[in-house]
């Protein structure tokens, strides 16, 4: 009897909670660490990216209007989904990053735990970053953190899953919507995790993930007038130029710098806006 033939998976972009091929009809090959063929993935165009920004903008309001508790539940649900499909993620990470199974398991475990960590931040950010301000006058004055809006993410090129999670979960947990460009050569773990987000009660459009060529997409993301912040973690040598482009629309920019003191909250804080309310006190 012949062996059963496996059904191979087609990886697509995740935009507005749906799985789409690029409007351009293009795709490219993803290869494993040894150079073998793994999959064809959609090659997103600048139009796909703009569509994703529109979807993110439309979804962001509902995401922020949801209670912090609810956002935490949704993120935790995402971790549950990822855990239940952990083996798949382990295989994908192992293939693109060239790890042994044990190491791949470590990467995936840390990625899932990182989602859980950010799930817990949703209803604590206000208590750590906000607070009452004792102004010198008869006013009740308090500062509350909120999202900056739509955040673009250029995910790390090397760390296909852990790096991706770090970049998207931080802005998501404080109420931003995200348009992420996955690792160019290693996009499949991020695309799979994005699929799982679709079954995790995220409002469609809150997390959009594209695969494609950085050279084509990064500049568009950095210059897009309706993107409020950008994480340049995976942009490599292009980071300086992209940061300059982002200045045109006064984007909040997250970059990893060699002299950074390790602070896990810096990324989250980058995509938070503080609003201060003054209220009179008197009879």
């Amino acid at each position: 009897m012949s062996e059963r033939l496996e059904v191979n998976k087609t990886f697509k972009l995740v935009v507005k909670g749906a799985f789409v091929r690029s409007e351009s009809g293009r795709s490219y090959e993803v290869r494993d660490a040894a150079g073998g063929f793994l999959a064809n993935v959609a090659q997103a165009s600048r139009k796909d990216l703009r569509d994703a920004v529109v979807a993110a903008r439309a979804a962001q309001g509902a995401w922020w209007d949801a209670s912090a508790y609810n956002r935490g539940q949704v993120l935790y649900r995402w971790a549950e989904m990822a855990e239940s499909r952990r083996d798949e993620l382990v295989d994908l990470v192992g293939a693109v990053e060239g790890h042994k199974k044990k190491d791949a398991l470590g990467h995936v475990g840390r990625a899932i735990d990182r989602i859980v960590w950010y799930a817990g931040w949703t209803d604590k950010v206000a208590q750590v970053l906000g607070g009452a301000n004792p102004v010198a006058g008869p006013f009740f004055n308090f500062s509350q953190p909120g999202p900056c809006g739509v955040v673009g993410v250029i995910a790390p090129q090397e760390s296909s899953l852990e790096g991706f999670v770090n970049c998207v979960a931080a802005p998501l947990c404080v109420g931003n919507a995200v348009v992420a460009v996955a690792s160019e050569q290693r996009p499949t773990p991020a695309l799979a995790l994005a699929e799982m987000s679709v079954t995790s009660d995220f409002p469609p459009g809150v997390l959009n993930v594209l695969s494609g060529f950085g050279a084509e997409l990064m500049g568009q993301l950095a210059s897009h007038g309706d993107v409020d912040g950008i994480d340049l973690s995976g942009s490599g040598d292009a980071a300086d130029e992209l940061a300059r482009v982002a200045a045109d629309s006064i984007k909040r920019v997250y970059r990893e710098r060699s002299n950074d003191v390790e602070n896990p909250l810096r990324r989250l804080r980058t995509f938070v806006e503080t609003t201060t309310v003054w209220h009179t006190i008197g009879q």
């Binding site: 912090a68 508790y69 935490g72 539940q73 935790y76 735990d113 859980v116 960590w117 799930a119 817990g120 931040w121 949703t122 209803d123 604590k124 206000a126 208590q127 750590v128 008869p138 009740f140 909250l265 209220h279 009179t280 006190i281 008197g282 009879q283």
Partner: protein, 487 residues
């Protein structure tokens, strides 16, 4: 078939009974002590019955823990602290707590039924308030377990060790969650003692802890009476006592631990003032007053049991309030339409009767809802006293029942003075459309929680607790971690 009825401007409204099924509780006949991860028979060989206050029927028998059992439980918690929990990373502690939260959500209907059967509170409340808030509390503190260094208590805040936790009968599951979640998140192990009359939901929670795979001994749940609680308080192996209950018992506990190194937090009684200004929206005010005092039969430490109404609107508020009181549906707690359920115990019912008798004796005007009460079980019809003076017992003492005392005031200063004229200081309500005045009043009230244009709102992110004889320490929010950290 019993029919509840209520009158309204539209005429008599009738409701068909909508009973929840008691069989969902899946109760065992008897329960042992949950020590070292298992239900074990008590050293005392004694069991006692827990009854359904709405029917008088026995629900189950539970073990009576004596000093030897307290010893076993504390030793188990100590072992678990030293061998497992204190070296379990925050990330892993967090995931245990998330699991517990999820399991509570999954078994929420069962837990709601158990709670209502054992406590007598309306199923609508246990289903919509107690159980979801308990799950939310575990969710919230799960998220702190791996973020303690961000909580504002220093870079490496340490747990205290073994926490002895004694909880009341008014919100049995929710109080267990309030105690366990922050303690575990901070890295402590626990010995929890549920109230004598409401042990069952904590025992279902013990099953949930087993299902969550929580390491043995991290949480021990021991049922018993006041002697059990006293043994726990005095046990030398306990590093921290957290108590929620009466001021009377809280005082005894504070005295007992005074000359020890034990940490202590107390959440005690209250006599909350619900202050209504003349500009407040009356429809919402009436609902807020009702919710403030008749929620959970008034068995609420932060109940709005003193209504302070501005004189100019006092007559109208009282008239509409009494009309609304008549519409409260009192009876079978398992009926989804019930507003006010059973009084939890005969002792509590007698306490309510004694104080309401004093209300009449001291000259207040009593109004009691004419609602029909079931033949068996423990009941007290919603009651409102007007013409109450500050010196009356019903204005000074916590009744812990569906009884409201109405007083009046003329100016904001007078409202504040009267509201603060209490040895307690747990919660207050302020009703006004004028935000600046609400904040002015709030600054001057001596209370741990102040609700503006709402009442009896609870959230795991929001610190709760009292000042003065309502106790000290906060539960909920970032502040709630402090009670379980060596900081």
């Amino acid at each position: 078939m019993i029919e509840n009825s209520a009158t309204s401007p539209l005429g008599a409204l009738r409701y068909d009974v909508a009973p929840e099924s008691a069989s969902l509780a899946h109760l065992r006949k008897s329960y042992g002590l949950f020590i070292d991860g298992d239900f074990t028979p008590p050293e005392s060989h004694e069991q006692f019955e827990t009854i359904n206050p709405a029917t008088g029927e026995t629900l189950a028998t539970v073990a009576l823990a004596d000093t030897a059992d307290v010893d076993r439980a504390v030793a188990s918690a100590r072992r678990a602290y030293e061998r497992v929990w204190s070296s379990t990373p925050g990330t892993e502690r967090a995931k245990y707590l998330y699991r517990i939260a999820r399991l509570i959500q999954e078994r929420s209907r069962e837990l709601a039924v158990v709670e209502t059967l054992d406590n007598g509170k309306p199923i609508r409340e246990s289903r919509d308030v107690d159980v979801p808030l308990a799950a939310a509390h575990f969710f919230y503190y799960a998220g702190w377990a791996d973020k303690l260094e961000h909580a504002g208590f220093g870079a490496h805040p340490r747990p205290l060790g073994v926490a002895g936790q004694i909880i009341p009968w008014n919100f049995p599951l929710l109080m267990a969650a309030w105690k366990l979640a922050p303690a575990l998140a901070a890295g402590n192990t626990c010995v929890l003692k549920p109230a004598e009359t409401t042990p069952l939901s904590a025992l279902v929670l013990a099953e949930i802890l087993q299902q969550a795979g929580l390491p043995e001994g991290v949480v021990n749940i021991i049922t018993g009476d006041a002697t059990t609680g006293a043994a726990l308080v005095e046990h030398p192996g306990v590093d921290k006592i957290a108590f929620t209950g009466s001021t009377e018992v809280g005082r005894l506990i504070q005295e007992r631990v005074a000359a020890t190194s034990k940490r202590l937090t107390l959440e005690l009684g209250g006599k909350g003032a619900n202050i209504v200004f003349e500009d407040a929206p009356i429809d919402e005010v009436i609902e807020g007053i009702i919710d403030g005092i008749f929620f959970n039969q008034g068995h609420v430490c932060c109940a709005g049991s003193r209504l302070l109404v501005q004189e100019s609107v006092a007559d109208e508020v009282l008239r509409r309030l009494l009309r609304r009181v008549d519409q409260l549906r009192v009876g079978d707690p398992m009926d989804k339409n019930t507003d006010v359920g059973a009084i939890n115990s005969l002792a509590q019912l007698e306490r309510i009767r004694e104080l309401t008798d004093w209300g009449e004796r001291e000259g207040a005007t009593r109004y009691t809802s004419a609602c029909a009460l079931p033949d068996k079980g423990l009941w007290f019809a919603p009651t409102v006293f007007s013409d109450v003076a500050q010196s009356h017992r019903i204005a000074r003492e916590e009744i812990f029942g569906p009884v409201l005392s109405v007083l009046t005031f003329r100016t904001p200063e007078e409202a504040v003075t009267k509201a603060n004229n209490s040895k307690y200081g747990l919660a207050c309500g302020v009703w006004s459309e004028k935000g600046s005045r609400t904040l002015w009043v709030a600054q001057r009230l001596r209370a741990g929680v102040i609700w503006a244009n709402t009442y009896n709102k609870f959230d795991p992110t929001s610190p709760f607790g009292g000042v003065r004889e309502s106790g000290f320490g906060r539960e909920g929010g970032r502040h709630g971690l402090e009670a379980y950290l060596d900081v």
